[in-house]
């Protein structure tokens, strides 16, 4: 009964589920907040990518229609995941980490959370 296309779609769905599960599992397993940030930004994004690929394949192979608006969600998530991670990291750093605990910035100005930018390049 199971054709190649069904196996392919099922494979992507299962992959997506596993990646999503591992990403969320990282949240409760890892000990430090900064480590926890790694799980959701990577595993979960790929998990959702797999699910969306499966959805596109399902429309293409099973329902015989072309569907590509899944690409929009994938693109949107790939663009926003780093921004979210960056914001959460900054939130964590500003509340919990002292400047001395971080490595130096190797320039005359410190990290942007603690130090003001040079006056000429003001934004």
């Amino acid at each position: 009964m199971a054709s190649v296309s069904e196996i392919l779609i099922a494979f992507f769905i299962v992959c997506g589920g596993l990646f999503g599960l591992v990403g969320s599992f990282g949240l409760i397993k890892l000990r430090e907040s900064m480590q926890r940030l790694h799980g959701p930004t990577k595993a979960t994004t790929l998990g959702i990518g797999c699910v969306l690929i499966a959805s596109m394949l399902y429309a293409l192979l099973v329902k015989d229609t072309v569907s590509f608006h899944e690409l929009l969600i994938t693109l949107f998530l790939f663009l926003t995941a780093p921004i979210t991670a960056n914001f959460v990291a900054k939130t964590y750093i500003i509340r919990n980490i002292k400047e001395d605990d971080l490595p130096g910035s190797q320039s005359e100005y410190g990290w942007s959370v603690y130090d003001d930018p040079p006056p000429t390049k003001g934004e």
Binding site: L21, L27, I28, T44, I48, T91
Partner: protein, 89 residues
């Protein structure tokens, strides 16, 4: 076969949601809670897409898209609130 795979994935993302919920309740820091909320949003998007496959309709994509956008904006707003104590300056 696809239905079985879908049920498996539902279970995965459902358990993932529970894990995020636990992290959100335990926390230890606001950043953790924000991160847990963001992960919950991503899991919900995946659940919506999977439900769309199960029902064979494209209607849930608009919902998933909207959840993705609103989730991103809310995460940024939370972070900004914690960072600056204010959202709109």
């Amino acid at each position: 076969m696809i239905t079985a795979a879908l049920l498996f994935a539902f279970a995965c993302f459902g358990v993932g949601l529970l894990m995020c919920l636990w992290r959100m309740l335990v926390g230890t820091d606001s950043a953790d809670r924000i991160l847990a909320l963001d992960t919950m949003v991503i899991n919900v998007i995946a659940l919506l897409v999977l439900y769309g496959i199960l029902k064979g309709t494209a209607i849930y994509f608009e919902a998933a898209m909207l959840v993705a956008m609103v989730g991103f904006v809310s995460t940024v707003a939370y972070c900004r609130f914690v960072l600056r104590g204010d959202i709109i300056e």
